[in-house]
């Protein structure tokens, strides 16, 4: 069956970026306000799901050539590394470090190792969600 999905395809191309950047925003906002890796990851994967809906899995895979299971692995390793790093310094597992830095353009910013952990969570959530969507969506 051939359906005319011109409008959704056109919209999806734009809306994808809006959702994706909003996901990044939510992810970074999690530093002090509601948000964080989990919600950000869900939003980011919803952006990809929108593309999958508008086009199909094969097209999306050529556009975003990411192996999502690898993404899970990388995310979990990143989270584990952040948590385990203090062990080498002699601090308890999961100790976080933070400080204020003056960065070019942004100015005074607080950087926190929890951010790295959250990046791991972000990747895991995107990986898991997309793996599930692909598993269900793959066989027609």
């Amino acid at each position: 069956m051939k359906t005319n999905d011109m409008i959704i395809q056109f919209t999806a191309k734009i809306v994808f970026f809006i959702i994706f950047f909003f996901a990044i925003h939510i992810f970074l906002a999690g530093h002090y306000t509601p948000g964080g890796g989990f919600v950000g990851g869900l939003l980011a994967s919803s952006a990809i799901v929108l593309l999958v809906l508008a086009f199909d899995i094969k097209t999306v895979r050529t556009v975003i050539p990411v192996n999502y299971t690898t993404l899970i692995g990388i995310g979990l390793l990143l989270a584990l590394a952040t948590a385990a790093f203090p062990m080498f310094k002699g601090d308890p597992f999961f100790t976080h470090y933070f400080d204020y830095f003056t960065l070019p353009l942004i100015g005074k910013t607080s950087l926190h190792t929890a951010m790295l952990f959250d990046t791991g969570v972000f990747l895991v959530v995107v990986g898991v969600t997309m793996t599930i969507i692909q598993t269900i969506g793959e066989d027609e």
Partner: protein, 495 residues
């Protein structure tokens, strides 16, 4: 503060993540899994001796002060269980090399094994009740993957029930934790024990105790909550079955052991009496199941239920002998169940059926297997000097001390039924006329399967014969369980 106790949890996790990559290379998968297991086992043994020499080890995540951060506590009980878990995992993974099938090996079998070990070791080690829930979920998620891996019809049907029952029990767990939190206002297990002692266990705490028994009983398969166990476990292939049979229900047993010796110790006449009678009923139900079936998987699966009953009977005595015996028996049961599931796995691979009535005369074609099976069967029933004996003796002794004469004698007598149920397998499968078989694996492959199995059985013999050498460890464990203040002091003076 000592991060060392985390290594048996982190290393399997790390290797599990590494093994997520490179699913194509069988050598990488197998080698990675083996190396990871051996390193973690070495760490666990080192930890065991450290706990023996220096006492209980604790670490609180993030360096938060004690009742606020998540505490991990490695006392003798958890160190022993973690070591046994990793030891058995090595042999079960080895056993899996020749039997699980390359299709599964290419599809996240080893990462799932590593994750399940992370969850099991974490659950044994954690000192925070909500963290216990998280580790339960980690091991359950991995077990869902393992039980459906391969996706045969039988597995799908069995695993749906398994997942459903565990989702419900997880929800109940959250509910119980919420109730407990509303009463004591803390999640740290040592702190909970202190706060409960302050409020002196009114009715609400007893209610929560029963709720926790319900939650953990569902995982540990006690009467009347064991109904899901036979169908879902029978769906799993033999190596996975060995892993589940040796480890998963034991985590539930451990959780009951921990909560019922640490938290709910102020209304013994209700909570522990309930536990005692439930454990007796569990044994009866298990015996009926084990004797009723002609399916060898089912017989051994029902023997898990019996063993759970015996261990919990020891816990219900709440004296040092009973608890030491429960520890002895718990570790014995992990080893012997792994051995038995590996053995019947070989029998199934040799004969191509799980139905006893279609087997026979295996003694002629594989005598060594037969004799090893007999040793394992005697060990399970607790015939001295094999491994089940000391534990059961101490449990019965604890029962006599606590004045539970009749039930203790019943526990001893139940050994006979256990023996009968496993000897039936021996009689049907090994004696009699040879039956036509349709082997699933070749003779060479089953011989390769036999090597790890034989080693596990030899370990179980050593565990029985060398009980004298293990007694100091077990006494330590029993003491920690019988006297909660050791655990509590270690957490609060851990620095």
């Amino acid at each position: 503060m000592n991060n060392f106790l985390l290594l048996p949890i982190i290393i399997p996790f790390f290797f599990g993540m590494i093994l997520l990559f490179g699913q194509k290379s069988l050598r990488f998968q197998r080698g990675g899994a083996m190396i990871g297991l051996i390193i973690s086992f070495a760490c666990a043994v080192a930890l065991l001796f450290k706990v023996k020499n220096d006492g209980v080890q604790t670490v609180t995540f993030g360096g938060w002060p004690e009742p606020f951060g998540i505490t991990m506590v490695s006392d003798m009980v958890s160190a022993l269980l973690v070591t046994t878990t990793l030891l058995l995992a090595i042999f079960i993974v080895w056993y899996g090399f020749n039997s699980i099938g390359t299709a599964r090996e290419h599809f996240y079998y080893y990462p799932a094994i590593m994750m399940i070990l992370t969850g099991v070791n974490g659950a044994f080690t954690t000192g925070d009740i909500f963290n216990l829930f998280v580790f339960f979920e980690v091991l359950l998620m991995a077990s869902y993957v393992l039980i459906v891996l391969g996706g045969t019809k039988k597995q799908l049907a069995g695993s749906i029930k398994y997942i459903l029952i565990n989702v419900i029990s997880s929800a109940l767990f959250v509910i119980s934790v919420a109730y407990l939190y509303s009463v004591v206002g803390t999640l740290n297990m040592a702190d909970i024990a202190l706060k409960i002692a302050e409020v002196n266990q009114p009715g609400i705490i007893t209610t929560i105790a029963v709720l926790f028994l319900l939650v953990f009983g569902l995982k540990a398969a006690i009467f009347p909550l064991y109904f899901w166990l036979p169908t879902s476990y029978a769906a799993a292939p033999p190596p996975v079955l060995a892993l589940f049979g040796a480890l998963l229900t034991k985590v539930g047993v451990y959780a009951i052991m921990r909560t019922y010796t640490l938290f709910f110790i102020h209304d013994l006449s209700y909570t522990h009496e309930l536990l005692l009678w439930l454990s007796v009923l569990t044994i009866i139900a298990g015996c009926i199941g084990a004797l009723a079936y002609f399916d060898i998987k089912q017989i051994i699966i029902y023997n898990i239920v019996i063993a759970v009953g015996v261990i919990l009977f020891g816990v219900a005595q709440m004296n040092e002998d009973g608890l030491t015996g429960a520890m002895f028996y718990l570790i014995h049961d992990m080893i012997i169940k792994a051995a038995l599931f590996m053995l019947i796995g070989i029998i199934v691979y040799k004969t191509g059926t799980t139905d006893l009535r279609k087997m026979g005369g295996l003694m002629r074609s594989s005598p060594v297997l037969g004799w090893f099976y007999l040793i394992a069967a005697f060990g399970l029933a607790g015939i001295p000097p094999l491994s089940g004996f000391v534990g059961k003796l101490l449990i019965a002794k604890g029962g006599f001390e606590a004045g539970n004469l009749g039930t203790s004698i019943f526990i001893l007598a139940s050994s006979l039924l256990v023996l009968l149920s496993v000897i039936r397998i021996f009689i049907y499968a090994f004696w009699g006329e040879e039956q036509p078989t349709k082997p699933i694996l070749s003779k060479k492959q089953t011989t390769q399967l036999f090597i790890p199995t034989a080693i596990v059985i030899i370990i179980s013999i050593a565990y029985g014969v060398g009980a004298e050498w293990l007694t100091p460890f077990m006494n330590d464990a029993g003491k920690t369980l019988a006297d909660p203040s050791i655990y509590i002091d270690a957490v609060f003076k851990g620095e």
